[in-house]
């Protein structure tokens, strides 16, 4: 791959920032291709976690003392940094959550409370379970209908079918930006405009896109955008729900407790303003601050170059894998990135994943929390290699050699 000799950014330099990548497992150099599940953390974030608990730890928002004020300032600074990165209008639109799943459940519960029996919600056939089940539960609770846009065999949402499903009854469309199983990049900007034409709101599941591209929520014009911190080089247990301010203002609170109130009496409680209305209880303070650090880190990375590099990795992996006899790549969308999912004739993904693991290669096997999608392709699961910008062509070469060895053993 001579075209990749001149990489648009220095991968070696980037890798030095990630200590987890510099280790051996089972006596082999670790090759980490499970970035769709979670990303490794740069030194900046690791240092920030240590620094927070060593120097700043205090509960936020209500303390008059030095540490509390400092932690509050840092936590709110993280919120502002994330707001700026997403190009949201106001930091009131950035709600800290536990992660993508929590954000979707918040919207399903709170926005869902404003819906009436007979209203409809649209999702697609390639959604992660966490963008299916909360809507199913809401539909059951409120008497709503869940509509599913079918996909083609390449793994692309059928846009004409989407248009047919849209109607005045549609109140919300919830779609993944990038499929965690197939790597398909969905044309969400166009899909958002179509939803708005019938007066429906649109939630983007950004769990798999935030780490691969620059997100501009105002350009997309989405009503909600959710993601997890741990997939974008930050800590686990923290995530973000972006919502348009006027919409969040109309929505009832999600959970009750401290921090989310203005005044409490036994007769009546009034709620705090945004964003605190949706942040009951002591939040994941260290998580929020360190997610801010992860955003500081990605600000230093050229994401145009990231997109080129990651597509090159996925294209190269696909090209090499296609030469294996009996190997089928699952998902062949025209617009695809960072994920290569495959199955092998007569072989179980679990066996391949286990043998790759013993050679130091971390991939994911199974249904990837997209069982309906596996049913569509009539397979029990896939082997999924998912890349981040710190992965290299050399790692793919080593992966291919390890795969070859695994297949010879299983023959």
């Amino acid at each position: 791959m001579s075209a990749l000799q001149n990489l648009p950014f220095n991968v070696r330099e980037i890798r030095e920032q990630f200590p987890a990548l510099r280790q051996q497992v089972y006596g082999k150099n670790l090759i980490y291709f499970d970035n769709g599940a979670t990303s490794q953390k740069p030194q900046l974030v690791l240092d920030a976690i240590n620094h927070y608990y060593s120097k700043e730890n205090a509960n936020i928002h209500r303390g008059v003392h030095y540490l509390s004020q400092r932690a509050t300032t840092e936590y709110e600074a993280a919120r502002t940094r994330i707001q700026k990165r997403l190009n949201a209008k106001s930091s009131n639109e950035i709600i800290f959550t536990k992660g993508t799943t929590d954000g979707i459940n918040l919207v399903a519960s709170s926005f869902g409370n404003m819906l009436q029996a007979g209203d409809e919600i649209i999702i697609s056939a390639m959604e992660h379970h966490s963008n299916i089940v909360p809507w199913q539960m809401l539909c059951e609770r409120k008497g709503l209908f869940l509509r599913v846009i079918p996909i083609n065999f390449e793994g692309e949402i059928l846009q004409d079918e989407y248009e047919k499903l849209l109607s005045k009854k549609t109140k919300l469309v919830a779609i993944t930006h990038i499929s965690n199983t197939l790597g398909t990049v969905n044309p969400i900007k166009e899909m958002i405009a179509k939803a708005h034409n019938v007066g429906a709101k649109f939630l983007v599941d950004g769990a798999q896109s935030i780490q691969h591209m620059s997100i501009d929520v105002r350009d997309l014009n989405c009503d909600f955008f959710v993601f997890s911190g741990h997939k974008v080089f930050g800590p686990t247990g923290i995530g973000v729900l972006y919502g348009k301010e006027d919409l969040l203002d109309q929505m009832p609170p999600y959970q009750g407790g401290g921090d989310m109130i203005a005044k409490v009496t036994f007769e009546r409680t009034t709620y705090n303003e945004l964003p605190y209305k949706f942040e009951a209880g002591t939040p994941h303070i260290a998580g929020g601050i360190c997610l801010g650090k992860a955003f500081e880190y990605i600000e230093s990375i050229d994401f145009k170059a990231v997109e080129v590099h990651e597509r090159a990795l996925a294209d190269y992996a696909s090209q090499v894998l296609e030469t294996f006899e009996g190997l089928t790549i699952i998902g062949d969308a025209k617009n695809k990135t960072s994920v290569v999912s495959f199955s092998l004739k007569d072989l179980h993904p679990f066996d391949i994943g286990t043998l790759l693991d013993k050679q130091g290669i971390a991939v994911r096997t199974g249904h990837h929390c997209t069982q309906p999608l596996m049913d569509f392709y009539k397979i029990p699961g896939t082997v999924r290699a998912s890349f981040a910008f710190y992965n290299t062509i050399e790692e793919i070469d080593a992966f291919v050699i390890a795969l070859e060895r695994s297949l010879n053993m299983l023959k």
């Binding site: 089972y26 006596g27 993904p349 679990f350 066996d351 013993k358 050679q359 199974g366 060895r405 053993m409």
Partner: protein, 143 residues
């Protein structure tokens, strides 16, 4: 009743067999061979009630009490899982139910396969060990 080897002796035997392997890949090569050799369970026995659903791979287990000893046959859709099943059956087949119910199967940890029985791995094997013990206890109660 068929005389069976002491359950702990069989485990010691497996441990010393595994000591001969230099690295992980050799261990797995052996497990794959075991998996290929495992007698295939009859298709009509692959029923819902014999299925142990795992997140990664599926296991079918048939158990019966024959002449005072437990008799197991099993299958899986994944070959490495089948290999580990082969080891478990080798240890537990023909043993008395009370012995199966109380044995801690120490060989699994000794040969480094405990990860396959961790709840997070969820490949049906942990469920299978539990089911083997449960079937043994059930047959004890029937006596």
């Amino acid at each position: 009743m068929e005389t069976s080897m002491d359950i702990n002796k069989i485990q010691e035997e497996i441990i010393s067999e595994f000591e001969m392997f230099d690295d992980w890949m050799e261990k797995y090569e052996y497990l794959i061979e075991l998996g290929k050799d495992l007698p295939i369970i009859a298709e009509e026995l692959k029923t819902e009630d014999r299925l142990i659903e795992g997140c990664q791979s599926r296991v079918w287990l048939n158990a019966a009490l024959i002449d005072g000893g437990m008799s197991f046959s099993a299958d899986s859709d994944a070959i490495i899982t089948k290999g580990i099943i082969g080891l478990l059956i080798r240890v537990m087949n023909h043993q008395k139910p009370e012995i199966i119910a109380s044995n801690d199967l120490f060989f699994i940890k000794e040969i480094g396969l405990q990860e396959h029985l961790s709840p997070s791995r969820s490949n049906g094997l942990l469920g299978m060990v539990k089911r083997m013990k449960l079937e043994a206890i059930k047959s004890l109660n029937k006596k």
